[in-house]
């Protein structure tokens, strides 16, 4: 039996090894290297001759702290997250309640339709929405025109460009969140609702005192993954606003990193941008999970 056990342990490591090696070499190692890069002046000349790289300490971080464009990108990204996350979760929760309600007919069909945008290719639908937002020929202004709304220059107007991208993101992503909410709703025991109904609780009271508390763990999970995902905004502005326009109103942190790193090859500096984003995401995630734990106590 002992030798059998040892064989099992060896097999465990051997079977896990290939995947672990891939993750270590092509993800964790680059993450560590990214931190190392962020304290150097690695640039286009260093790609040709690595001897030129110098240690510069926190210089890149100081530069970006003094760079208005970085702050602009950070503010835009926060705006996108603060507007997009609640909007996505709100629409998703409403949809989840709708497709699970007892009286609803044709549930699977609604579920499939709501989910369809999730599986579409982001770049392709960003292209489609760019035309939907066309001031003169776009369907969205055409639709709003029925209600007497004057044409809006969506993607060309610095005030409207980011809300326009948020709307696309909500449309694209709410189906995914909806499915997770549906799973959370199904985990709430039906007896709770029956008991509440016998006690004469109204629909709103049942929602407020049974559904919402019952969904709390799901809501935290959804908030965490949506926030992490939305902080990584990139393809939408890349495709829809020609890389962050108008006047940088949709420039996101990742887009800024991409331009600095892969357009201008300021690799050390771009690595610092990436790391700042990482620390922000980590901090927000920790705050969200800590708030959850506190609420549970």
């Amino acid at each position: 039996m002992r030798s059998l056990h040892r064989g099992e342990a060896r097999a465990g490591w051997l079977l896990a090894a290939p995947a672990l090696a891939v993750i270590a070499v092509f993800f964790l190692l680059p993450v560590a290297a990214g931190f190392a890069l962020s304290v150097t002046d690695f640039d286009i000349y260093a790609i040709g001759d690595p001897d030129l790289v110098r240690f510069v300490g926190a210089a890149n971080y100081r530069t970006l702290a003094a760079e208005p464009l970085f702050w602009k990108a950070l503010k835009n990204t926060l705006y996108f997250v603060l507007l997009g996350v609640p909007a996505t979760m709100g629409v998703a929760l409403a949809a989840a309640l709708g497709v699970t309600a007892g009286v609803t007919r044709l549930k699977p069909i609604f579920r499939t339709i709501y989910f369809a945008p999730v599986v579409t290719t982001l770049v392709a639908v960003a292209v489609v929405w760019r035309y939907l937002y066309h001031p003169r020929f776009g369907l969205i202004n055409g639709f709003l025109g029925w209600f007497g709304v004057e044409p809006i220059a969506w993607l060309a107007d610095p005030r409207w460009a980011m809300p326009a991208i948020v709307l696309l993101a909500v449309w694209k992503n709410f189906g995914y969140t909806m499915i997770i909410f549906v799973a959370g709703l199904q985990a709430i025991p039906e007896q709770l609702y029956e008991a509440a109904r016998l006690d004469g609780a109204s629909a709103w009271q049942r929602f407020r005192h049974i559904t919402l508390p019952g969904l709390a763990p799901t809501t935290t999970f959804v908030a965490v993954i949506t926030v992490i995902g939305y902080f990584q905004l990139f393809a939408e502005p890349y495709v829809m606003t020609s890389g962050g326009g108008p006047v940088n109103a949709t420039l996101s942190v990742v887009l800024y990193m991409f331009k600095e790193g892969f357009r201008w090859w300021n690799i050390g500096y771009a690595a610092a941008v990436a790391f700042v984003l990482f620390w922000i995401i980590l901090a927000v995630t920790l705050i969200q999970t800590a708030a959850r734990r506190r609420a549970e106590r």
Partner: protein, 273 residues
């Protein structure tokens, strides 16, 4: 009476939501079948008159979209196959094989899930460049060969494999590899289908990494080619819509065919612990 009214209202809202969800996709298909210039009119036309396949002809004959279509198919298939093998081996090991350090390594992996992929991209690019993998298929495939999420998903499922089954196979003298190959793998089939759909779609739809690592137009995947096409053909609405259809349609069909296992996968991935 009030009850019936609220039920009716609920269905009206649900239908309005469905129209909003489907309208952009429907318009994409409709506009892709319009002749040149028809989509640019006030008010915007909803149906092609008459429907034509001209845009698709132009895409395949003149703009060679067949090449990125082929690239995307090859890359998504390769990443799917390799990652299914590696993730299933590791997921099973973390679920059912007892070895020292297993749980610590697994919780480290889960913690690493909060690290955004973009943090790794600059160093990864330099690394692949020194290995000569920039602008190659391998450059796209290699970072996708295993994933923490994939290992996690397989592990959750593999936890339900009865220990007695594995012990019985051991007593019968099966090697650990034989157990994985002929006992575990068949049992993992449902979750591997789910994960396969996930990985295929994820690779197909991915944009940022292929954009970085592929430099020649002949190597582009569909999303990169489409974004590139936008630069030269922005005015050609109908042509761009046909390009979007070519990009979206394969994954949309895959989803409709496999939607049950795909949606179950999301639910499983969201279960805690």
């Amino acid at each position: 009476m009030r009850r019936r009214l609220s039920t009716l209202l609920l269905h009206l809202v649900l239908i309005a939501g469905a129209v909003a969800a489907i309208a952009p996709i429907a318009w994409m298909f409709a506009a892709s079948l319009m002749p040149d210039g028809q989509a640019n009119a006030e008010p915007p036309p909803l149906l092609p008159q008459p429907p034509t396949l001209d845009q698709y002809r132009a895409l395949f004959a003149r703009l060679d979209i067949g090449r990125p279509l082929l690239n995307s198919t090859i890359l998504a298939s390769a990443v799917t196959l390799v990652s299914l093998l590696l993730n299933s081996m590791a997921g099973y090991a973390f679920a059912r094989l007892r070895f020292r350090g297993r749980d610590r390594v697994f919780s480290l992996l889960l913690a690493a899930l909060v690290i955004p992929a973009q943090v790794a991209m600059l160093p990864l690019f330099l690394m692949l460049k020194s290995m000569g993998l920039v602008n190659t298929y391998l450059g796209v495939i290699v970072p996708g060969m295993a994933s923490i999420f994939g290992i996690f998903l397989v592990r959750q499922f593999a936890l339900s494999i009865p220990q007695e089954l594995l012990d019985a196979a051991r007593v019968d003298g099966a090697s650990e590899w034989q157990i994985y190959r002929s006992v575990v793998l068949p049992l993992l089939r449902p979750i591997l289908v789910t994960l396969g759909v996930f990985v295929f779609m994820g690779t197909w739809n991915d944009f940022m990494w292929p954009l970085i690592v592929l430099t020649d137009a002949s190597m582009y995947t569909l999303p990169v080619a489409l974004a590139n096409l936008m630069g030269e053909h922005f005015q050609d609405t109908e042509l761009m819509m046909a390009g979007a259809v070519v990009t979206v349609l394969p994954v949309l069909i895959l989803f409709l065919a496999m939607q049950r296992s795909y949606i179950e996968g999301i639910m499983m991935g969201s279960l805690k612990e």
